[in-house]
Structure formats: structure tokens, C-alpha cells
Symmetry: C2
Subunit: 707 residues, 2 copies
């Protein structure tokens, strides 16, 4: 019997030997030699990573308690019919070069467990290559993840597709010689004799490596020191006929793949990589179409934002995450230490990542204000090429940063289903020849495409001392996706198609300046009037003309200033609000408070819409809104305005959601599956039932018409 925690030998005979891992040591060693963890050791890394996640969480909320075991692993394997089954077998019993598990992780966000599928290459199996069996296994495991709507993690460590010759023939073919007696004269052809030919019945299906390419690469974490490549360095050197590449890392190391946006995050080793996977998952719903995991922590929603973006240059990460200033913590918009930047080495004029707002995970896009260096490496294969350093100004979209913006939006939307916060501060797109050649227009429209497609609420906030102009405004304007997007401006933000200097140059030229002068300056007005006096002689008139000119010259500088100020007055949040271009003017200090409830209310609202659309896919948003507002006024009272009462609406839906089963909110399967507890629950049940009935009646009527 075990003393304390139950040990691995619990209730076993005393003569049972301790299991030795000896058997696996050679493979483990082989894997390590190739720079990777042995495949069956990965679940343990996941366990450690979840523990690390708990440790972080407990620092913030000491009342949390880490469960005894934070991971449950069930290995998956194909049965004789090619169907995926859970198997219990000892490590290393795999019969193909891929291994997969259904892992249940007990994380701080999901203490009751969340499931993921992990697929990994066994690099010790057939030299880490994959063929038909591996492909099939990969596909099946992926299909399972898709069916369950849960994340699929692929731990890639392989040497590509398995190639081979027909081994069954290799020892059996015959040769027709040019000269039977002197083979070195050459051959005519190869052939099989009749008997061997008869044995040729097998007809194996070809390898389906296509699937891989489709599924992979959505989000990549790359180990430093491990390349992502198409063709190895030595094979390429052979093609090129000279020793161009020293190592495959030159081709697909992190200095290439992280800088061009293929790799989202890098890691020093497998444990760090897995830890980053777990951290990333903490922002993501446990399964498709479930609400995001709201994980409240010690950083309350109800606080000022300390860090105020200044007029000049600053690091946009400070605005998001806060910073230390001489040992003082200056808080940012999001929860402390919740910001995880991705794609950090690529297109640095835009900063993207994930963060929490009062515990709500969000996708984040912010704008660099400083000029950054964009380094294009020299191409070893072209001896004339040089490393190019291109300076990219802050607040401007370049082809690369526009692409990065679009890709980040797609990442947040697809699979992760996060609400999105865009801290806008753009002067426009860069339209130089280089940018035009690099298809800046195409990438700009990718941003629009990504936003059109966005299924969760999107908030665009023009930051204090930030601005939004011309082409940049066009691609983040809420009319792109009206039901999901909202735009806000800080009271200290500016926005307009052109900058004031530009517009004055076009629309407030000398003629207009003088007309303004004539209207405001009494002296000038009088002189002008006296010019029209029919009693004045030509000489007097020319004297007045001189005086007029002098007055003009004296006053023009100050009138230019007036014009500029007039143009600047068009540039205010007030005018944006008046023109209905923004929903509200906000004060930065309080923006966290506002958005916490706004975001919460909006994601709740969308979740309710999803429930209703499940009942009737033909519901319009307006119809669904009508249902919700009706219920809201019924339950909460008509003194609250539906549009404006974020706190009330959020709380009201909160209560309703509590009546749905825990499973649904935490692990989730059936969306319309409810648990009985309160009156509220009966009410929502009744309401949904009513809508269903309405719908059925309508359908029957329709069908009757058709017949």
C-alpha cells in the first residue's frame, strides 16, 4: 500500500520489477541527436507546461488551486479497419512514423479540462520520413479534431516524404544485354520473366501528402536551430552545382522564417515551445463556437490606464501592456502581463498579438510610431546581391505590414474566434514605386477582406494623439462589416481624409485667405471699400492698392495660421461624431472601464445571436435583435436603453448564460442543451421553444404552398 500519494507500484506484487525505460533509451538518444525530443516524451512536456501556466496564475490569484494531475493522455492509433481508436500501449509501440494523443488539459482557464489533439512525428521511425500510412493517420487524427471542434497541435520533426523503389522488383528483374557475353557493352532494356510478373498483384494507393500542406502552417512555433525547408542545403548545392549553402538553417532557420512571418513565435527548445503553445491556447475557446475563456485575475477592469500615449514617438507595446518607469508600474490598456506578441520579427510597423481585458481574451493590433529597419538578407545563391536595409516610417502601412495586419485578423477570426481590438494610428499607405511594385494595393484589400469575414465584434479605437487618414481609414471603416465593427476616437485623436496641411494647400489657397481677410479685417475691408468709391482718382486708387498689398503681406502669415487652425478644427473627434463616423468619443484614462463592459456585452450578444440562428438559419440580425430587446425590456425594464446600457445588457445575458449547462460553457457539445435550475432558465427555455414553434408553423405553411 502506498504511503501518501498513490505511487506507480500501488497494489502490485512485491516481486513486480520496477519498469525500466532502458528499452526506449536508444530511440531517445537517436531523437536527441537529431535535435528533438523523443516523441513519447512530449506528453510529459505538456504536463510541465500546464504546471508552469498554473504557477503564473497562482502568483496573480493566490486563491487558485492547481489540481493533482493536470493532464490526461489517451493515445490514438488506427485499428485494422483504418479507424482511429484510443489505445493503451506502452511507449514506443507505434507501428508508423506518427503518434497522436487526445490530451485533456486541466488549465487555470479550464480547471474541468479542455481537450486537444496532438500529432507528432516519430523521427526515429524510418529516418523520420512519412508515407501513405502516416498520411492516413495524420488525416484521421485531424478529422477527429475537426469533428470535436478542438485545437489540433502538430509537432513536426521529420525528413519529408518517404521515397522508395519497388523493392519487390529490385531483386527480380532481368536485363536484356547488348552482348550477352560482355555486359559492359551496355543494355537494351530491363524485363520481368512471366512468373515474376504473375506475382504482381498488389496495387497500393498513392500517398496523400496534399492534406499536409492544406492543414499545416496556420500558426507556427519554430525551434531555434531547427529549419523549415523545402529542399535541404546539400540537395540545393547539387542543383546549383556549387557549395552555396552551408546549412539548411540558412534556408529555413528562424532568421528567415520568423522575419517573413511564416513562424509566429520562436522557442529555444521543445519545452519552451510547448509552454508557448499552452500559453497561446489560454486565449482560445476550448471548442469551436464556444465563448472565449474569460479568466479574471487580480488586475481589475475598474481602474484608470496609467500610460498615456504621448504626442511624439513611443513603443506601442507600452500602451497595450504597460511598463516600468523607475520601479513604478505604469499600467496599460490590457491586464498586466497578459499581452503575448506574435509575428514580432516581421513587418515591425505593426504590432499584433493576444491579450486579456478584465480576463476577456482579445486579438490586438497596434501601430508602431517609430521608424523601423526592414532587413532583406542577401541571397547566397546570387553573388551580386547585398543585404538591403529599408527604413520604414511609423504610422504608415507598407506591403509587409498590411499583409501582417490582414493575416493577424484572419488568425484571430479563424479557429481562435477572438473579439478584436484595433488601436488605430495610421497616416495612410505608403505609395512609393517600390510599394506599388510590391502590390501594396492588393495587401490593403486583404485587410478589408479579412474584416468583411470577421465573425466576432471588432473595435477600432483611434488612440490619444493618434490619427487616421485617407486610405488607412478606408480599410478599417466600420461600414466594411457594420454588424460587427464599431469605431471610437479618443478625445485627443485626429482623423480626416487629408492632414490639415494638405487640405489647406488644396482648399484654402491665397484667394480664399484674402477673402477671409476681407471678411474679418476691418482695415482691409475699409480699404477695399474705398477702392470702389467712384469719387477716388486713379492715383488715389493706386495708393490704396499699395496699402492693400501691404496689409495683405502683413496679415497673410497669420491668416495662413487661421486657415490651418480652421482645417484642424475639421480634424476633431467632435466632427467625426457629428458626421456619424464614430460611435463615441472616449477618454483614454477610462477606456478600459468602457471597453470591458462593451466587449463583454458584445460577445454575449453575439453568442445569443448564434443560439437564435441555430434555431432558424434564416433569421436576420434585426429579427434576432428584436427578440433580444423585447426580452430585455421585459426582464430589466424599459428605462434602460438597449444600445447604451452595456453593463445592464452584459449582466442580463450573463444571468441567462448561467442557466445553460456548465458543460456547454466549459467543454461544450450541444449548443441548445440546457440544465434546469431557476425560473430564468424556464423563461429562456420557453422563449426558445416559442420561436421554434413559430418557425415550424411557418415551414408547414410554406410546404403546403409548394404542394
Amino acid at each position: 500500500k502506498s504511503i501518501g500519494k498513490i505511487g506507480s507500484m500501488h497494489l502490485q506484487h512485491t516481486h513486480v520489477p520496477y519498469p525500466t525505460k532502458e528499452r526506449l533509451q536508444p530511440r531517445r538518444f537517436k531523437a536527441h541527436l537529431m535535435g528533438t525530443t523523443y516523441v513519447y516524451d512530449f506528453p510529459e512536456l505538456f504536463r510541465q507546461a500546464v504546471h508552469t501556466q498554473w504557477n503564473y496564475a497562482i502568483v496573480n490569484c493566490p486563491e487558485l488551486k492547481c489540481p493533482q494531475d493536470v493532464l490526461e493522455a489517451k493515445e490514438l492509433a488506427l485499428d485494422e479497419k483504418g479507424q482511429l481508436q484510443e489505445v493503451v500501449r506502452s511507449a514506443g509501440s507505434n507501428t508508423c512514423g506518427m503518434v497522436a494523443w487526445l490530451l485533456t488539459l486541466f488549465t487555470p482557464e479550464y480547471p474541468k479540462g479542455r481537450k486537444i489533439i496532438v500529432i507528432a512525428n516519430d523521427i526515429t521511425y524510418q529516418f523520420g520520413t512519412f508515407g501513405f500510412v502516416e498520411d492516413q493517420f495524420f488525416t484521421k487524427a485531424t478529422e477527429l479534431a475537426r469533428k470535436l471542434g478542438i485545437p489540433r497541435i502538430y509537432l513536426s520533426a521529420n525528413y519529408g516524404a518517404r521515397v522508395g523503389l519497388a523493392n519487390e522488383l529490385m531483386n527480380n528483374f532481368k536485363v536484356s544485354w547488348k552482348n550477352e557475353n560482355n555486359p559492359s557493352e551496355g543494355i537494351n532494356y530491363l524485363f520481368l520473366d512471366a512468373e515474376t510478373y504473375k506475382q504482381l498483384n498488389q496495387n497500393e494507393k498513392k500517398s496523400v501528402i496534399a492534406e499536409k500542406l492544406v492543414e499545416n502552417g496556420e500558426r507556427t512555433i519554430q525551434n531555434e536551430g531547427q529549419p523549415i525547408i523545402l529542399t535541404g542545403a546539400s540537395a540545393l548545392n547539387k542543383v546549383l552545382g556549387r557549395e552555396v549553402y552551408m546549412s539548411s538553417l540558412q534556408l529555413g532557420g528562424t532568421q528567415i522564417m520568423h522575419r517573413n512571418g511564416i513562424t509566429h513565435l520562436t522557442a529555444q527548445n521543445d519545452l519552451e515551445g510547448i509552454t508557448k503553445i499552452i500559453q497561446w491556447l489560454s486565449y482560445v475557446p476550448s471548442a469551436r463556437d464556444l465563448p472565449v475563456p474569460i479568466f479574471e485575475n487580480s488586475d481589475t477592469w475598474d481602474r484608470d490606464i496609467d500610460y498615456i500615449p504621448p504626442k511624439g514617438l513611443y513603443d506601442p507595446r507600452w500602451l497595450l501592456a504597460g511598463k516600468y518607469e523607475a520601479d513604478n508600474w505604469i499600467s496599460g490598456f490590457f491586464d498586466r502581463e497578459s499581452f503575448l506578441e506574435t509575428l514580432g520579427a516581421w513587418a515591425k510597423t505593426v504590432v499584433v498579438g493576444r491579450a486579456r481585458l478584465g480576463g476577456i481574451p482579445m486579438g490586438v493590433i497596434a501601430v508602431e510610431t517609430r521608424t523601423v529597419e526592414h532587413i532583406i538578407p542577401a541571397d547566397p545563391a546570387n553573388s551580386e546581391s547585398q543585404q538591403e536595409i529599408i527604413m520604414e516610417a511609423g504610422q504608415v502601412w507598407y506591403p509587409n505590414s498590411a499583409y501582417k495586419t490582414a493575416q493577424a485578423i484572419n488568425d484571430f477570426n479563424k479557429g481562435e474566434q477572438l473579439p478584436l481590438m484595433i488601436f488605430a494610428n495610421w497616416r495612410g499607405f505608403s505609395g512609393g514605386q517600390r510599394d506599388m511594385f510590391l502590390e501594396i494595393l492588393k495587401y490593403g484589400s486583404y485587410i478589408v477582406d479579412a474584416l468583411i469575414d470577421y465573425k466576432q465584434p471588432v473595435f477600432v479605437y483611434i488612440v490619444p494623439n493618434g490619427e487616421l487618414r485617407g486610405g488607412a481609414w478606408v480599410v478599417v471603416d466600420p461600414t466594411i462589416n457594420e454588424s460587427k465593427m464599431e469605431m471610437y476616437a479618443d478625445e485627443k485623436a485626429k482623423a480626416g481624409i487629408l492632414e490639415p496641411e494638405g487640405i489647406v494647400e488644396i482648399k484654402y489657397r491665397n484667394a480664399q485667405l484674402i477673402s477671409t481677410m476681407e471678411q474679418l479685417d476691418e482695415t482691409y475691408k475699409k480699404l477695399k471699400k474705398s477702392l470702389e468709391d467712384p469719387l477716388k482718382t486713379e492715383v488715389e486708387k493706386s495708393k490704396i492698392e499699395i496699402l492693400l498689398k501691404a496689409r495683405e503681406q502683413e496679415l497673410l502669415p497669420v491668416y495662413s495660421q487661421i486657415a490651418l487652425q480652421f482645417a484642424e478644427l475639421h480634424d476633431t473627434p467632435g466632427r467625426m461624431k457629428a458626421k456619424n463616423a464614430i460611435r463615441k468619443i472616449l477618454e483614454w484614462k477610462n477606456a478600459r472601464r468602457f471597453f470591458y463592459w462593451r466587449v463583454r456585452r458584445r460577445i454575449h450578444e453575439e453568442y445569443m445571436f448564434k443560439k437564435l440562428i441555430n434555431i432558424n438559419p434564416n433569421f436576420t440580425r434585426n429579427q434576432m435583435k428584436k427578440y433580444l430587446t423585447e426580452w430585455f425590456y421585459n426582464d430589466v425594464g424599459t428605462e434602460f436603453d438597449w444600445e447604451e446600457s452595456d453593463f445592464k445588457v452584459a449582466k442580463w445575458i450573463d444571468e441567462m448564460l448561467e442557466n445553460f449547462s456548465d458543460d456547454e460553457r466549459n467543454e461544450g457539445n450541444n449548443i441548445i442543451n440546457m440544465k434546469s435550475s431557476t425560473n430564468k432558465k424556464d423563461l429562456i427555455n420557453l422563449r426558445i421553444k416559442n420561436i421554434k414553434n413559430e418557425m415550424i408553423t411557418k415551414k408547414v405553411v410554406e410546404l403546403a404552398k409548394i404542394n
Copy 2:
């Protein structure tokens, strides 16, 4: 009364003056000055372009007759409620900077008329800028095109968004001076007096320029000499602080925009541009989801293909379109003179365009075999940059050509709904450092994405003396979209993951060579055996060893040859067929005959599937196939194999389709709307009715269950 053709003064009073166009001359002149046609002259250009199209068609088929009038134009305008209406008004009566027409074109493919929406900028209106009204008009006209499912042409000639200051305030604001008596000392602020303030009630909605960006730029034909730009040269020079750009053409002329794939085609002038639009439209169905316009011409399907792709280098256009050889016409795969290449200046290692096969329009992708120059222009804004010339090898996908391939597939699929022919001949993707940095992997997966999404039949044909290897195979493999894609190989094509030289290096090294030698060479075998003889002395044995080595040295070259040949034998279409990687092995000479019926049958089949899916969106392909085959065996007889009898199946569906109303096939609105004529028609009507009834019964049963 008119004599002959009814004239414009028909039945009018004799004193009615002839209409003078004088009134429009100033605007026409203004437009010409800006390098464009006056907006109201465009319908005439369309008329001329359609005439040109008829002239071409009549050269091929002299029995065709061009109708009297080939164009009907109805101008569209917004009424007072902001709804689009057809209007009859004289040219130049437009009240905003955009004009639109619903044009009916009577083309050779659609002699009964096809409709398109044309939207054009009036560059003479408010300096060719656009604001809210223009945006709204553009959106409405676009929505109409979308509703009718017909092509929308946008003739773009404008100076971008209209910017302005609040004119109503410009003459009314007051200034608070620092020193009322000496204005030149400066100002405190601007203000409005109470009375002016009261007048401020208007609250106009902001401009929705977003729509533009979304909708535009799918397919671009650019006039030489007219730039596509974001910011003009002079404005950019101002930003850069020096005279970098001489002209906006440097930024967005065809030498930039055609070379980077933004511009699909270029034209010397507006007439040529419109002619190309009409030509392009000739490949495209008149409305969404209608069959492609099959326009048979004098080039019969029933002929050999003269041009045979050789082993060495050649222009892939010859294979598609044929060529002259010393005054002899050597025909290609497609109908003579039917190939229209697009995106020709971009990524030249891939050739894309549209062509006809026995009258059936298809999207085409072919592979350049020659090495081409990829020129990256120097950036005028960076004095250190130089023009770069990169040599790109044929038969290899680079980031740009992979992107082009994916974009062409998307273009063919979306809007044009064409069947697709891919003449495959790829050795793989280029995986050098430069390509890796330029995200070759991403673009490769774009091809897969585009094919997954393809809604029409796709045919991949590995051409004679062509090959398909490794990564390239993966992205065009039919398993990507099994219900739409089919792969064929020419009897002279080769395919495999690695090229034979590569695979021999890995899998047929010295040890295996010697083992083959031991098996095939009697001399060697005997020597080896005698080595094992226990009676031999050590001295004898070492003599034998020497003999063995000598024999090895003598024979190794020829055995390397044997190994290579063995590997090459894996590389044959026969093995591809045996492995089920291709559907059939074809002979190039007869490929046109085969594909004509195959393509025709496949598009017919898909069209029937569309009809069935309209009845019940939940039908699987197998269910629908079951219906079709059942009917086929019923009508045609069970002696024909459904899969193999392309000619029979095509003819059979042909007959059925003839029973659908002409409107549907030619102009098309309601898909399930049929015209009565024959017994066949009653039969298909009855069958569809039966399916509908089945479905309704099922639904009622389902509903009963829910309730």
C-alpha cells in the same frame, strides 16, 4: 416618314432642329485633355467593340449574321428615394460624378443578348473626384449587378476621394485675436457667433469609400499612359522632401502594374480596352450559375493536335494555341485564335489565360520550359537601389509564379465559373533562401486553397515530355478536391516524387548495385561462390578478391545505367495508372478529341448536379449521381458505362438541357423554370417533381418528430 432604316427624326415635326452635340464638346474636350474618353461616349465604344467581335466570328463562320443593332443602353440613375431607376435623358445630364448603364450586348455567343452593368467616372464633374453621392450610386449599381448575377464593368478615370472644408462655415467663423488692434500678433482661437451656430443642423452621412476597395480590382485592364496610384508623384515628392518622381506613371504605370500582376491586360487606348473587355466576356457565362457559352467555330473538335511539345525548350503558347512554321499552320490544343493570355508580364514561368476547346471556354494554366528574366526595378526613392535581374528556371514554381497560378485559378473560378485545364510540367518549387524568405511555402499553399475552392471541373494533364515531381505534384493532386479534379498523363510524360537521378542516389547505392550484379552476372556470381569454397587457400581467395574487384570496376558503370533505367521505369505513366494516381494515360495527338467530350460531359454533369442541389441542398454527390445514372441507364441503356461513356452522357444531358427554356440557357433567371415541348421534357419534369415530393414528405416527417 423615314426611307429604309428608321432614322432619328422619324415621325417628328419637320421644324424640329437636328440635335447638335455642341453642348457636350467642352466636356468632351476636357475629358480628352485628361487622356480619357468623355463618359457618355463609352456606350458607342462598346457598340464598336461588339461589332469587331462579330467581324472576327464571321471570318471563322461565314454563315453567321450580325444583328442590325448590337447594343441597347439604358442609363441608370438614383431617384429621390435613393433607388436605382432606368432613365431616359440626354447625355451629360448627370448630377453626380458617376454614370451607369444596363447594357444589353448582342454578341456572337449571345445573339439574343446578354446584360452587363457598366459604371463610369465622369472626369469632367467636380474635377473627377468622388464623394458620398458617387459612392452610394456606385454601390447601388454594383448591388444591381450582383442581384442580376451579371458582370459589372467599372471604367475608372478619377482623381480619388473628394476632400473639402465645411464651406458653410468658411465664410462665417470669427477669430479671437491676441490683440484686437494688431491682428498680425496672432490668434487665440476661432469661434462661431450664436446665430451662425443655430444654423448648424445639417448632418450629412460620411463617405463610404470602403466599398470601392472591396469590389474593385478583381480583373484590371489598364490603359498605357494612365497610372493606377495611391498618392500622386507631386504629393509624394513633397513628403519625401525632394524631386524623386518625375511622373505618376513611374509609380503606377503599366511597367509597374502589369509586371506585378495588378493589371491583367493593357490597352493602347479606350477602344482597345473596351474591345478586350468584350473579348474577355465572350468566355464568361451571361449570368451567375448559368452554363458557359459554348460557341462552336470552324475549328472542329475532331482533329489531331499538330504541335507536339518536344523534349527540349519550347514556348508553351505553341502547345495551347498552335503556331506558324514556314507558312504552315501547326495547330495546338485549343481552337485556333481562341487563346487570350492574361497577366502576361508577371511571373513568366507560368502562362495563364482563357481559350476555347471545340467552342467550350476554359481557364488555362501552362508551364514555361525556358529560363526567364525577372526584373525588379530600382526604387527611385532609394538612391542605393539598383535594378535587379533574377533568372528564373523553367518548370519550377517561384513565389511569384505560384502566386500567379493561385490567382488565375481564383479568377477562373469566381465570377467566370470556367472549367480549368492545367497542363502540368513542373519539377517542383524553388527552395533557395530568397524563395524561402519570400514565403514560397505560403504561395504554394494558396494554390491548394484555390483548388479546394474550385466549383467547376479541373483537368490536370502532364504533357508529352513533361514531368511532375515532389512538391509540385502535391499541390495539383486530385485528392485536393476529388469531386472536381481529374489527373491525366501523356504516354510520354514522367512523374514521381524525385527525379530518377535523385532516387538512385538515395536508394540504389553501391551496395545495392553490387547485389544486383551478384544476381544478374554469372561471372561475378561464380567468383563470389568460389570465394565461399572452404577448399580454397587464402592466397587463392585473395586472387579471387582481386578478380571480383576488377569485375566490379568493369561492370559498375553499366550497372549504374541499369539502376537509372530501373528508377526511370518507376517514372512512367503506366506506374502512375497502376498506383491510381491518374485517371487515364492519353496520347497527345488525340487529346483534343478526348477532352472535348470529357469536358462537355463534366460541365453538363455539374450543371445537372446544380439543378438537383437546388431541390435539396442536403443531397450528397453520391445521391445525385445515383439519380443521374439511374435515368441514364433507363434512357440510353445499360450497355454503356456511366464513367467511361463521355460522348453518350454528354449527348444525353444535351438533349435534356434543350428542354429547359431558352431563356435559362441564354439569359437565365429561374433555374427550375421549364418550357414545354417534347416527351423528354415531360420526363425530366416528372423526375424532378418526384424528387421534390420525396423531399417534402421527408421534411414533414422530420417536423412531426420535432414537434
